[in-house]
């Protein structure tokens, strides 16, 4: 019985993980613009992998008598890196896409968004480079 529950849990986690991975990739393929596409893989894949990693830990602990937690490390690294990836892609997109720049909300302080902001330099240009983000009120 225990074995069955274990198998069930492992199997379920594997399938769930795989499902979210698939969803992430579907989102990547389906969503119409890059900012929206960014949502799907960065989230779904993390949970997808997370579930599969838990399944792996369970499986090794329950069935192979080789308890291991090192799968946590993969999760750790993915959690550390996925936001960075998304952040970088978003920044690059903002820089490269004029309509997106226009759609940006203002910041709530004196400077623009970091990607676009050109700090004024004494003796050089007064103001900002073309396409710089607008400072808020």
């Amino acid at each position: 019985m225990m074995v069955f529950i274990g198998e069930l849990a492992v199997s379920a986690l594997i399938v769930i993980g795989a499902f979210f991975l698939l969803v992430g990739s579907i989102g990547l393929a389906k969503l119409p613009d890059i900012m929206r596409r960014l949502h799907a893989p960065t989230k779904s894949t993390t949970l997808g992998i997370g579930a599969i990693l838990i399944a792996s830990m369970l499986y090794f602990a329950l069935f192979l008598d080789a308890p291991s937690l090192h799968e946590l490390l993969i999760t750790l690294f993915l959690f550390l890196t996925a936001p960075v990836t998304a952040f970088m892609i978003a920044k690059a997109h903002i820089l490269r896409d004029r309509p997106t720049q226009q759609a940006l909300p203002p910041t709530l302080c004196g400077t623009g968004w970091a990607t676009l902001h050109r700090p004024p330099a004494p003796g050089e240009r007064d103001g900002e480079a073309p396409g710089a983000g607008r400072p808020g009120p």
């Binding site: 952040f87 480079a129 710089a132």
Partner: protein, 955 residues
């Protein structure tokens, strides 16, 4: 050794000449004269033996594998020639001392001249046909130097080159001929070859061999149709012309025919080839000589004509003809050398050698003039002079010779040659020396110092002496002719002025009459000759060479276009072709190994690979896209390694992929981001065909291999990995132990790559490269060079990644990992830091001396390997043991780990050095100041503040 010394002494003289010239021209001339004299004396010590019927031989091994030896011998022929060379050489040395002006570098002249003399003596005295060949080519080389002695004259340079090409080329034929001859005869020693004439003549390769040997001889002796080079060699100083181009070198071809006469002559082939060549040369050259205006050219063509006569005589192949040839060689040497020197005197005194501007010199320089007239008369074959005697013998022989069933052909042509000979001699006499004295000379000629006419006088004395008392030459001619003919007895002949009313006498008289008519009719003949078309040999030769060069240039321009694209097509197509041919040469069968079933992910991965590869081919001008696609392929390759039980490879591929991508991105930033596609459909097609063929070939090969089994040496590695190498990861044990030497080489490759990259980029901030960097226009850039999230994530990931690196390093011996992968991980972690915070900021915080890392890595690995020497074991012998520490427990230490540490250090050093160097260069291209790290978002300050600008450059 004394025979060899005869040839060597002048060589020593040649070396001394440039040294002694510093002590003055007389010292120099005396030195070289003494050398020649010494050689002559030494040579003549052999004369008694030779005239006693002996053949003196010497033999020192040189290259027995081919038959080349320092073999020398003196027989009648050799003695005769060597004496001629040295005797006339001495006269030339004296003559040249006065002939050369103060501006001419005399040391060099004598050096070349004695070099030539040495080579020529070698030709005369060699008892080995290959050794003879060596000296033969040396005469060509030294004559090249002598003809080009006056380097400021274009005629000199061109004449020298032409002579070298013709005679050197003939020498190449002779190489082939001599090798064949030696092989046919079974020996390369001349004295033995001469014994085997019958066997040689019966050999099936006799005719081709003969043709090659004759090719060598005819070019050297300027025989028709190779006669054209000799007149152009007259650009040389007159002593050179007198020596090389009348007395000695040009006679080398004749000498060769005489030397090999017993072995080669007497066959139909010999007669059918040699006789007509000589005959035609004799007639044609004499005809040309008659019309030449340059005194030396006239003499040169007359020389060619006389050489033709000698060749013809030797070609006839009868002993009598050979005697005539020998006698004429002697006579010709005397009168022709005298004439050349006289021409030099004329040139020297009158300031011109143009026959049309000369005349009546006998009155102005009576001594020289008289001597020259005597020599010219001998050349014409007038009685009481030695030229008459040998010409009579020639005509006599010719009269008895029937060629191809035509009994009158040879005599008629011989007579014609004699007519022309009289004619040009008469022209020389009448148009230069006789007649009224002219007063339009550049400066008034008079007799030169005795040093110049003395040698001429000596020669003319011989001319007259032999002419009046022919038996004086008797022993010489007899001994020499005996040597030419070989073992046989000499034919009956007498050296006498009067032989009765022989056909030769009538032919001779006809010649004198005919010559007289010709000189009388000279103006008319010259007009006719001037009007007629005649082949200009030099122009033709030049045209041939120029065409050769032009054709070569066309071929070269068509082949070596400098286009790597074309080179690659040739290379890859060759590889493919050879590969296919090799495979289809047979020996293939179906494999017996059962294939593995394909899995879904494998098929998907395969599909991804296909799509990415196809896309990269189509979209390669978009270089960023290319890199992304390449990363995809790298990912698939890593997965393939993993799928097929190669975790180490997968780990390596994953890490290498990242580093490579960053490296390419770094480079791409400074290079055009878009390439141009291939505009030519033809080239696309060719590329595609070659690519497809390579792909198919490689696929077939790998499939064939994978479907068959073998036993490999790896079984040993699997068995010995743990007990012998102390590790369970067999791949790692192979890398650091079984085949640690490969790895040692491999890290050195990395280290060298780093050094080379450093050296390459070290200069990138100077010159054209720096200007280009300065002029680079950046695209719109983000203001945020060091994004916050990246920086903070790196703060955590860096230590963790280093930890993983340590882990991968330590486990490598037993589980997938090892120094290389660990090194890459650590390098990647550091790159991440630099990428996040910027180079300047990060470098300012921790100095990573990549050079030292690389050097240390190689040294650590190498010293670990060399440590085995201490135990008397070979390089890289490893050792391991298990240790126990409280708390930590049992652990293993292996020397292989120290080796792996070297690997690790080198990898880290290399990656860092490469990337940082590029980054350093990039800095020059920055238009805007790069914000200082670690991050650009300003958090701690209240109001916004501008980024620091001043500190950006120096860090």
């Amino acid at each position: 050794m004394s025979i060899a010394l005869v040839a060597l002494i002048p060589l020593v003289g040649a070396l001394l000449a440039p040294l002694t010239i510093r002590s003055g021209r007389n010292t120099c001339a005396l030195t070289v004269g003494a050398a020649s004299l010494a050689a002559l004396v030494l040579l003549l010590t052999h004369a008694p033996a030779v005239y006693g019927g002996e053949v003196v031989r010497e033999h020192v091994a040189w290259l027995p594998q081919v038959g080349l030896a320092f073999s020398f011998f003196v027989d009648g022929l050799g003695l005769f020639f060597a004496t001629l060379i040295l005797g006339i050489g001495l006269l030339i040395i004296v003559y040249a001392r006065y002939y050369l002006s103060k501006r001419d570098p005399m040391g060099r002249f004598y050096a070349y001249l004695l070099l030539f003399q040495s080579a020529m003596l070698g030709v005369a005295l060699s008892d080995n046909i290959l050794l003879l060949l060596v000296f033969w080519e040396l005469t060509s080389l030294s004559s090249f130097l002598l003809i080009g002695y006056w380097r400021h004259l274009p005629e000199g340079r061109q004449g020298a080159r032409m002579a070298l090409v013709v005679t050197g080329g003939g020498g190449l034929l002779l190489i082939a001929g001599m090798l064949m001859l030696g092989n046919i005869a079974g020996t390369y020693e001349i004295s033995e070859i001469l014994q085997r004439g019958d066997a040689i003549k019966a050999h099936p390769l006799y005719v081709p061999m003969l043709l090659l040997v004759l090719g060598g001889a005819f070019t050297k002796s300027a025989q028709f149709p190779f006669h054209f080079w000799l007149p152009h060699a007259m650009a040389a100083p007159t002593p050179v012309s007198a020596y090389l181009h009348s007395a000695t070198m040009v006679k080398a071809g004749v000498f060769l025919l005489a030397r090999l006469w017993p072995a080669l002559a007497g066959t139909d082939a010999w007669f059918m080839i040699v006789t007509p060549v000589g005959l035609v040369t004799m007639v044609v050259a004499a005809w040309i000589a008659f019309f030449k205006h340059d005194l030396k050219a006239l003499l040169a063509f007359s020389t060619v004509s006389h050489l033709g006569m000698m060749v013809m005589l030797l070609g006839i192949g009868t002993p009598m003809a050979a005697v005539a040839a020998v006698f004429h060689i002697l006579n010709h040497a005397t009168f022709k050398a005298a004439l050349f020197m006289s021409a030099g005197i004329v040139d020297h005194e009158a300031g011109t050698r143009d026959v049309r501007r000369l005349g009546g010199l006998l009155r102005l320089m009576p001594v020289s003039g008289a001597l020259a007239l005597l020599a010219a008369a001998s050349m014409a074959g007038l009685p009481l002079l030695n030229g008459f005697l040998s010409k009579e013998m020639m005509l006599d022989t010719a009269a008895g010779t029937s060629y191809a069933g035509l009994p009158y052909l040879v005599p008629a042509l011989a007579t014609l040659g004699a007519v022309f000979s009289v004619a040009y001699s008469a022209r020389l006499a009448f148009h230069v020396y006789l007649g009224p004295a002219r007063d339009d000379y550049p400066h008034r000629p008079h007799d030169p110092p005795a040093g110049m006419w003395g040698p001429v006088a000596l020669l003319v004395a011989l001319v007259v002496a032999i002419g009046i008392v022919p038996p004086l030459a008797g022993p010489v001619v007899a001994r020499t002719a005996m040597a030419v003919i070989g073992t046989g007895e000499l034919p009956y002949y007498t050296l006498a002025i009067w032989h009765g009313f022989t056909p030769a006498l009538f032919m001779s008289m006809a010649a004198i009459v005919g010559g007289g008519i010709m000189i009388a009719a000279y103006p008319a003949l010259a007009r006719a000759h001037g009007a007629a078309w005649r082949p200009e040999a030099k122009a033709m030769f030049d045209a041939v060479v120029e065409r050769l060069v032009a054709a070569a240039r066309r071929v070269l321009a068509a082949l070596h276009t400098g286009s790597l694209q074309r080179y690659m097509v040739f290379i890859v197509a060759t590889i493919v072709a050879v590969g296919f041919l090799a495979f289809y040469a047979g020996g293939h069968g179906p494999g017996g190994r059962a294939p593995l079933p394909a899995s879904i992910p494998a098929i998907v991965g395969w599909g991804v690979l296909l799509v990415a590869s196809a896309a990269v081919v189509v979209f390669h001008p978009d270089r960023l896209l290319t890199l992304i696609l390449t990363s995809v392929v790298g990912l698939i390759v890593s997965l393939a390694f993993l799928q097929f039980s190669a975790p180490d490879l997968a780990l390596t591929q994953i890490s290498v992929e990242v580093v490579t991508t960053i490296l390419l991105l770094l480079a791409l930033n400074l290079m055009p981001r878009r390439g141009v596609g291939e505009p030519s459909a033809g080239r696309r097609l060719v590329s595609a065909a070659v690519a497809l063929a390579s792909g198919v070939g490689v696929a077939v090969l790998s499939f064939a291999v994978m479907t068959r089994d073998i036993a490999s040496i790896a079984q040993y590695h699997l068995e010995q990995s743990k007990p012998g190498g102390g590790g369970t990861n067999v791949v790692n044990v192979i890398l650091v132990d079984f085949r640690g030497f490969d790895t040692f080489g491999e890290i050195i490759v990395l280290g060298i790559a780093a050094l080379a990259i450093f050296a390459l980029l070290d200069t990138a901030l100077r010159g054209a490269s720096a200007r280009r960097l300065d002029a680079m226009r950046q695209e719109v850039e983000s203001a945020d060079a060091h994004p916050l999230l990246l920086v903070v994530a790196t703060r955590v990931i860096l230590p963790l990644a280093l930890t993983v690196g340590v882990y991968i390093f330590l486990r490598g011996h037993n589980l997938p990992g090892g120094g290389f992968i660990a090194g890459l991980i650590v390098a990647i972690a550091l790159i991440m830091q630099y990428l996040a915070s910027g180079y300047a900021w990060a470098a300012a915080r921790a100095r990573l001396d990549a050079h030292t890392m690389i050097g240390a890595g190689v040294l650590v690995a190498g010293l670990t390997g060399a440590g085995a020497f201490v135990f008397g074991a070979p390089f890289l012998s490893s050792s391991y043991d298990y240790f126990h520490l409280p708390l930590v427990g049992e652990f293993e230490l292996a020397t292989a780990m120290a080796f792996d540490l070297g690997v690790f250090l080198t990898v880290v050093g290399t990656v860092l050095l490469a990337l940082f160097q590029i980054s350093r260069v990039q800095k020059r291209a920055e238009r805007e100041p790069v914000p200082e790290g670690p991050m650009d978002v300003l958090l701690h300050s209240g109001p916004p503040r501008p980024v620091a600008r001043t500190a950006r450059d120096e860090a």
